[in-house]
């Protein structure tokens, strides 16, 4: 197993990239940091720059303006970088797939390691998703 990847599972630093979501998933992500869920006790923290991040958290359906930025963000992240798609929009574009301003889905731009569906996913679901992702990286069943 990749040593770099293994080291990554200890405490995930997350960069949150919002690609035209309705910001509902985004509030729920911030909710994870506040007292009821408080994921910082597991070492998960939001960071201000993608260059410090282990995980790129993507929400929403990319549009023409954000799709290039998402690609740039991914290329700037230190590798290996895991990508988590949060919410139905990021997983499958949902009702916006027919929009004139929705050129592609998130997984057509960057390789997604975990999908967390829901509109919005509950904070518990997000924690469960991240736990599953860590288990996958560590190679556990």
């Amino acid at each position: 197993m990749d040593l770099k990847l293994k080291a990554l599972t200890k405490s995930l630093w997350v960069f949150h990239a919002a690609c035209s979501p309705c910001n509902n998933c985004d509030i729920e992500i911030l909710d994870l940091l506040t007292p009821r869920y408080d994921v910082e006790r597991f070492g998960i923290a939001l960071v201000g720059s993608v260059r410090h991040a282990d995980v790129l958290l993507v929400t929403g359906v990319p549009n023409y303006k954000t799709k290039e930025i998402l690609k740039t963000l991914y290329s700037q992240a230190p590798q290996p970088c895991l990508v988590v798609a949060v919410g139905n929009c990021a997983c499958g574009r949902m009702m916006f797939k027919d929009s004139y301003n929705s050129p592609c889905a998130v997984d057509e731009l960057v390789p997604v390691s975990a999908y967390i569906p829901g509109c919005p996913p509950k904070p518990e679901a997000m924690i469960a998703g991240v736990v599953k992702l860590i288990q996958k990286v560590r190679g556990k069943k």
Binding site: N63, Y64, K65, Y100, N101
Partner: protein
């Protein structure tokens, strides 16, 4: 005096047709050339608040609805303007009168291709820079 009566009196023959949908929803049409005069009267003299403008593509032409809100009574006065020339639609900008109209005119310019004469800053608001020139998402002929 009711605001509706005052508008009728002040604008008089400029009003083409007047339609009261319900007690608080009033629609009336004017010629495109009067829009600055009408909007100036409603916004400056009568103290109505500019709510928003709706642009739509209809078979007769491009129709603009300027919604003004009279907050004392909760009435919405919508001024309807029809631009018949679909090839090269133009109308006077309201942005010099009140800055609140600046964004919505930029939006209608990119969505419907209406040129607002005298707009201080007519550039893209919502669409990306790479969006093809001359293609307008809310124009119906573009769909086919």
């Amino acid at each position: 005096m009711f605001i509706a009566d005052e508008i009728k009196e002040r604008l008089d023959e400029k009003i083409i047709d007047w339609y009261q949908h319900s007690s608080r929803r009033i629609y009336f049409s004017v010629e495109p050339k009067y829009i600055q005069a009408v909007a100036g009267l409603l916004f400056r003299d009568l103290g109505l608040r500019f709510s928003i403008a709706t642009g739509q593509d209809t078979p007769q032409g491009l129709e603009l609805l300027y919604h003004f809100s009279f907050d004392k009574t909760g009435e919405i006065i919508s001024v309807r303007v029809l631009i018949k020339d679909k090839k090269k639609p133009e109308i006077d900008s309201l942005a010099p009168l009140f800055p609140a109209a600046e964004w919505i005119e930029r939006e209608m310019w990119e969505m419907l291709g209406i040129n607002f004469i005298g707009h201080p800053n007519l550039k893209r608001l919502l669409l990306a820079d790479e969006w093809p020139e001359g293609k307008h998402p809310l124009r119906h002929e573009d769909e086919s």
